[in-house]
Symmetry: C2
Subunit: 294 residues, 2 copies
Amino acid sequence: MFEQLGLIGCGLMGGSFALALKKAGLVKRVVGYSKSPSTTDRARQLGVIDVEAPSALLAAAGADIVLVAVPVAATESTLKSIKHLVTPQMLVMDVGSTKSDVVQAARVALRDQIGSFVPAHPITGREVSGVEHADATLYDGRQVILTPTERTLPACLQRAEEVWRALGCHVSRMSPDAHDATFAAVSHLPHLLAFAMISSITSQPHADEMLAMAGPGFRDFTRIAASDPKMWRDILRANQGEVLTQSRLFRQALQNFEDAMQTDGDQALEDLITLASHTRAHWRMGAHRKNKDH
Amino acid sequence: MFEQLGLIGCGLMGGSFALALKKAGLVKRVVGYSKSPSTTDRARQLGVIDVEAPSALLAAAGADIVLVAVPVAATESTLKSIKHLVTPQMLVMDVGSTKSDVVQAARVALRDQIGSFVPAHPITGREVSGVEHADATLYDGRQVILTPTERTLPACLQRAEEVWRALGCHVSRMSPDAHDATFAAVSHLPHLLAFAMISSITSQPHADEMLAMAGPGFRDFTRIAASDPKMWRDILRANQGEVLTQSRLFRQALQNFEDAMQTDGDQALEDLITLASHTRAHWRMGAHRKNKDH
């Protein structure tokens, strides 16, 4: 399907994309670049990329598909550095967890070349990062949200959908704003709460004794708190308005539970828990999407 | 080791204890009672209990070990109903997630017989409940916290430790108050936050669309939100003081993150996330306890 992938950013997400594309037989050659030369070197040793490029520009040179898998804050400078090579025949995508800022960065950086850029957010990840954890199955069975602009070329959008589908993904489209509002609620806020809860415990005198007693509920609830700090600093900052809105709504919901405990009585508390428990017990990852597909 | 287990409450926790005791060859016969006759009937059909008792008192009759596995709010009335049969040769335990209220209930209900009662909290559970999910391995490898009182008979405490160890558990002791403060932080608060977060989403106009987009981070973070509503209503109420204290500390921690996002800048936000991420990445379930053992 593709002759050459230009991979800019050889971390978990980028490396896994390269491996998945290779495994599916969809690319002949992967040319990779990472900011850190040792990462690029390691990616080549691990067979994630075939050729090391000394710059983002040279990773994109000759590629018919380019994946920008860098921290969201670095999207604009990365796209600027490859702008002169972007053509309507080239598909350029990112994998960032926020989209309004990425689209804005692409407008500034790519200008008239923005039609080749298809903003993408694959709903996957690990609490570990780095090319060592790259995994050809990371995207398999997961959702990918594409947030095209009014200037995105239909052919590029179609190729983007095809390549993600070929990797086993379920593809849907949203506007960048709707994407960011949705993921503030179901991803960014949960991360913020998990970080804050660990922070709340570590600020207490008996933190170590408390953590020693924690069980499987705590383990799963806080798994995402081990996520990469720089990446999540950038995500929370990039989507700050929506995240703060969700945090405000969450505080109100927590207040409702506390009011039920202190004032409204057992039945009010049970009703609140029952609605939450029922909602979560009947939730299935990707269920909505599957219903649409079949 | 034991002739007869009197099981009062044939749900997930009680049923799993009976199955584990049988599997380990530690009991000859299990006599069970549940408030709902259909549950007791089902427990017998599933081989979780051998004999159905028509009352808690008759489940305890002739038993040398009694497990009270009822909602924490029902502990006092349950212990009262078996008080006349409790002897120093009998070991009576519960499996409740809160301990100060259970100890208080035992003082009131058992009076001079309280020496036979060893309050126990096995750190395990499922987001599903009911005897259908009873599992002989539920306790294997998990921690059990015993919170004896000054009147607990040494022989009963020793037998309690032996039986949990025989089921593969790691046993430790705490005071009831220290137990409740600790578990408010590492278990009850996470449940409250997970309930509140689901509640916050369902209160929004696009809740269904949001939930349809949620991925594996959300899945793990909210798993405990599917827990049994009545059980968690009782736990939050029983440990309300400590839970509200932890909620207040959590709100402050969340405020620190919001201040970092809005005022203090990127480095402050990154520092907060880094400390949380580092703490969680190095946490291992039961690691503290293993260091002690070896």
